[in-house]
């Protein structure tokens, strides 16, 4: 042991060691109401950035045997407004616009003309519950390719009959399990589940699976992300 030091010297040594910790006070910014919101928004943006980097186009969501599918009656119906926005199914068309070569109105028959994909995948709600559903539809990528969507565009956004709206990053939109879904459990979509057309994206959380689609837009920039995202939920929320 080295030669003794005075009490006073020890106090100053100790004090210096405590002062080294002071940069931690910066975290106190999270407790300041004015700074809290932008800081948390920034933190969520970092998470979304990392999520987009973690996304692998070739990585498929797990698929399940028919025996593992949740019964249709136990598939929850989630809305933000009404179960049935009373879509006129007879005259329904999907309005397509934006960075595409063939903009215009598309009928359900035109969308159903593409190869039908049927998949049993997990529907995971942001709240934490999940169900395994059976979904059928057209690959969004097939549809986007056929309408000549600009491959350099960054977003596919949709609007719904109940004023809900959503958007997808292009890599997720082009994922082979991402569907323009018109069937659940081998039956045409029921009104509560989004008739006649909804999004079904096994690589995204539930609130991205918009129902009752009316418009689809391909774009380079979006001024709003989605109904829940614009209230503070994750913009990307890839699974």
């Amino acid at each position: 042991m080295s030669s003794p030091i005075s009490r006073r010297k020890f106090s100053s040594v100790s004090r210096r060691e405590v002062l080294k910790l002071t940069p931690m006070v910066a975290l106190g910014a999270f407790a300041i109401p004015k700074l809290q919101k932008p800081l948390l928004k920034g933190g969520l943006a970092v998470s979304d950035w990392a999520s987009a980097k973690l996304f692998r186009s070739g990585r498929l969501a797990p698929t399940f045997d028919d025996s593992e599918v949740t019964p249709f009656s136990k598939f929850p119906i989630n809305d933000y407004d009404v179960d049935d926005p009373e879509v006129d199914l007879e005259h329904w068309t999907l309005n397509v616009s934006g960075a595409v070569q063939k903009a215009g109105e598309y009928t359900l028959a035109q969308i159903q003309a593409f190869p039908k994909i049927t998949q049993n995948t997990r529907h995971l709600c942001v709240e934490g519950w999940d169900v395994i559903g059976r979904f059928g539809g057209t690959r969004l990528s097939d549809f986007l390719n056929s309408i000549g969507a600009d491959p350099a565009a960054r977003f596919v956004s949709v609007e719904c009959a109940d004023d809900y709206y959503e958007s997808l990053d292009m890599p997720t939109a082009m994922h082979r399990q991402t569907l323009l879904c018109y069937e659940m459990y081998d039956q045409p979509l029921t009104r509560e589940h989004g008739a006649p057309l909804r999004l079904q994206i096994p690589t995204k959380v539930g609130y991205k699976q918009a129902k009752y689609l009316t418009r689809l837009t391909v774009s380079h920039v979006i001024d709003r992300v989605g109904y829940w995202e614009d209230q503070g939920y994750s913009s990307f929320y890839g699974l």
């Binding site: 003794p4 020890f10 100790s14 910790l21 699974l239």
Partner: protein, 231 residues
């Protein structure tokens, strides 16, 4: 491993005491960062849990418990997710910094529970819980402390891994499978939180029992009048 010790002399009385440098700066920094992170992660995690307080089906939903909103952080699910997804990065970074520092500095020997600590477990348990004699202290941490701290680090790692499994059950589907599937991963994540809270409770009780010098050492690094002699 050389622990630094100094003698302190009272100029007036000439009385001598001793202090040891027990907690290097990085360890202290990580300790307090982690304390804040745990507070935020647990608080926001419980708010997230409130959105679906069950580990079964959605229909019919059988709630496990109704956690009071007053003991949760974030106000609503979206707010809690913002806290959780922001502080998880600080939590992970702190964990990596801590483990990296301990390994590269060799300081891990102070705290890592190893085989030769096993025989010392029972005497410590007897002392703490059954009023047995106090085993002589030879180093900063007794075998039971080492076991608790080593377990806590393990639980921290598991909290991150189970968290990743439920945050990214597609990109890291293998991780979820390893834990028995998505539902199990979510349950493990929840149980690990309680295990960490149990550790924190025991830790705080011990801090109270071991007095002021011990508490202050996590700020200054220096512990006055240690119970053990530094070789």
């Amino acid at each position: 491993m050389a622990t630094r010790a100094i003698a302190i002399e009272d100029v007036k009385s000439g009385e001598q005491s001793e202090a040891v440098y027990e907690h290097p700066f990085v360890v202290r920094l990580c300790h307090w960062l982690n304390a804040i992170c745990l507070f935020v992660m647990v608080g926001s995690g419980l708010q997230i849990f409130r959105a679906f307080p069950s580990f079964g089906a959605k229909i019919p939903q059988k709630d496990l418990l109704h956690w009071p909103k007053a003991f949760a952080l974030g106000g609503w699910l979206g707010g809690a997710l913002q806290w959780h997804l922001t502080f998880m990065w600080i939590y992970i970074a702190t964990g990596l910094l801590y483990v990296g520092y301990q390994v590269f500095s060799g300081n891990y020997k102070q705290v890592l529970f190893v085989r030769r600590d096993i025989p010392g477990i029972w005497p410590m348990v007897r002392h703490y819980f059954f009023f047995g004699p106090k085993p002589p202290a030879r180093e900063a941490y007794n075998p039971l402390q080492k076991h608790a701290y080593t377990s806590a680090i393990g639980l921290g790692a598991l909290s991150v891994l189970t968290g990743i499994a439920i945050w990214k059950p597609v990109q890291f589907s293998w991780l979820a499978s390893l834990m028995g599937g998505f539902h199990w991963a979510r349950l493990w994540h929840f149980l690990i939180m309680w295990a960490l809270l149990a550790f924190v409770f025991g830790h705080l009780v011990m801090v109270v029992l071991h007095g002021w010098n011990n508490f202050v050492s996590m700020f200054t690094g220096w512990k006055k009048d240690p119970e053990y002699r530094v070789q």
